[in-house]
Subunit: 431 residues, 2 copies
Amino acid sequence: MADTDARPHVVILGGGFGGLAAARQLDDPSLRVTLVDRRNHHLFQPLLYQVATAGLSAPSIAAPLRQILRKQSNATVLLDEVLDIDLAKRQVQLAHGTLDYDFLIVATGATHAYFGHDDWAQHAPGLKTLDDAFTIRRRVLLAFERAEREDDPERRQEWLNFVVVGGGATGVELAGTLAEIARHTLPREFRRSDPRRANVLLVEAGPRLLPAFATDLSEKAQRQLEKLGVQVRTGTAVTAIDDNGVILGDQPLSARTVLWAAGVAASPLGRKLHVPLDRAGRVQVSPDLNLPDHPEVFVVGDLASVSQPDGKPVPGVAPAAKQMGRYAALCILARLRGEKTVQPFRYRDDGSLATIGRMAAVAQFGRLKFSGLFAWWVWLVAHVYFLIGFRNRLVVLLDWAWSYWTYQRHARIVIGSDQADESDSRLPKDV
Amino acid sequence: MADTDARPHVVILGGGFGGLAAARQLDDPSLRVTLVDRRNHHLFQPLLYQVATAGLSAPSIAAPLRQILRKQSNATVLLDEVLDIDLAKRQVQLAHGTLDYDFLIVATGATHAYFGHDDWAQHAPGLKTLDDAFTIRRRVLLAFERAEREDDPERRQEWLNFVVVGGGATGVELAGTLAEIARHTLPREFRRSDPRRANVLLVEAGPRLLPAFATDLSEKAQRQLEKLGVQVRTGTAVTAIDDNGVILGDQPLSARTVLWAAGVAASPLGRKLHVPLDRAGRVQVSPDLNLPDHPEVFVVGDLASVSQPDGKPVPGVAPAAKQMGRYAALCILARLRGEKTVQPFRYRDDGSLATIGRMAAVAQFGRLKFSGLFAWWVWLVAHVYFLIGFRNRLVVLLDWAWSYWTYQRHARIVIGSDQADESDSRLPKDV
């Protein structure tokens, strides 16, 4: 790729919350920006569980990176995959070429991890990408279809048993929505099986749900989930997952659908930097988000492990990634202006929100804590506000209003069949 | 599957326009209906090209069959695949069980065909299912991405050459929309390549576009397409398609993206009936849509070959399929009431519409013919009217209004990678 532009070149790897925030902050004609992602879109991950549970269609929570940055003339978007990073040469090796950089921002995020049990992946899909969401949507919808076709009551119930592993925000949201689908969306549509007989079990190894929230909110979340019909088991470790279901401690549970919302590991790109990683594979960066000995390289978002001046770690959430991306961009702009010292990164906690289901949520803003209907409204307004694009906001609101009144979920469309499914005797082929 | 219900049992194979119309017409508590489809949704195929060209999201033009029929208590939906039909035993063999029938309606439609060149399929995807639409969307969007990454001007142009094979309604719609995307949607978003340099070539072997319309409308459609920037070549046969592009007669044309809108063949299920098929694989049925010697078996929609009293064949379009489905249902109800004679099926031609692109269309209602803006409005109203579901109508109208004002297409999200793409060296992996 021809490089004739003399302006400083900032290369950003990853178009998630961190990378995109950095690119937008670098809207300055004195430098040029190249954003590399292997997908063509930015994904609003906080609502991904709604694509998985058929409440929203994929384009409602995704926007093409090119479209987002089309008016920023110093920014180029490249659809490519990063193979390697050469810190000495200041060069990124892509699958289709190389990029020289003056500054590098690595923002490739995290993926789900199975704590060394990679064979669990085929039985218990996780939720990070749109393809993951379609896989979960397909498995959940097909489970109810298989139950309808099954004459044997015991085997039918196995298709109606759902296990969600992991009691963080994603696990709570998935479990609550599954219970709502089984109890309210589907019942009138099946003739031989009764979707209301579905069991949704939420398993958490730690002592309580939503560990990022205060203890009393965890309890409230659990009560709200149980009211929706979810069984909650905290302090329970999953020791095996296979075709037949899960083993909880030493107690087997037959279930044909297991969803994984438990483990997160940093992007494998961290290893290409040849610097110390923490246990979750995250890169330990300096207080100004730099690599040691490489002040021109920043790591932001879920891939970065950074401690605050008060000793607390920065959580792996979208607002933190955005703040880090903006901080890295401001550092670069300051250094290009010749400023030597920059204040270390400080995470500003704007509060935490988790939705549980129909009109139930928990919220925590500093010392202010609340739950139930009001928390749900705050959750709704915040999530629509942060969605990219006026059209998406409008359509998501419309979809939610429609789902609220009708109990229907408009995206109940089974698309494709992934390879894991095809080699999986539990699922029909060609459906 | 337990069969204890004594009511007459109508089994319908296929949940397209024909099968669904039949099922709805059979809303009568004195009989029971089982609708079998290997997909969980009814698809509004006339707008499928808009999913392929990123204007609509999949759930906007698809609705779960269960949801459509949920209030019809005599109807059961089964998600399964038909393996065989035993006319003597009156039994359908499914992948997961068997169904006994008193009446059978076969409505499994058509798929695209490559006139004996099955190896063309991997190079030139056709458009019949949602998965097909995603494949086309992916290839088209990735072609512009590859052009952006390509330094060599000749190879870059190959990525910007698009060939659409087949000048029927689907080919005309695809070509017109591709030209609009290249000229209006994408230009400001690329920094190194210019999407306006895209060539869209529409190739038709016959003497004119839209052969189902009057000659002067074909000419008008061609002029409207050319105004949008599409090159039209009629009377030109494609003799080869491979990785490098197409051969037109004996003239090679380099193009990295070829779309197939030329051939249609009836569903392979027709062969299971062991009756004479026509050249396109369609089942030759009696004037009352029955199989010879099997008055309890009906074939409707694109799978049926039926001649009118005036000798004209019934066209393979959605209104014809719906009319046939309703006719078969009314025949069954009449026979159950003991009526012996039924009027033979007559196709009522309600007119033809084809859209060409932004505010251009052609329309023909009997002797009434018109084109341009007014035809486009008629097309729009008709297509929104026939969409299933109030929500879908609203969202599709909203999407169209938004696209109209902004020239944007909201569903420009690349999803998945099909097997053909993965084994295809022309496309990046993991994007």
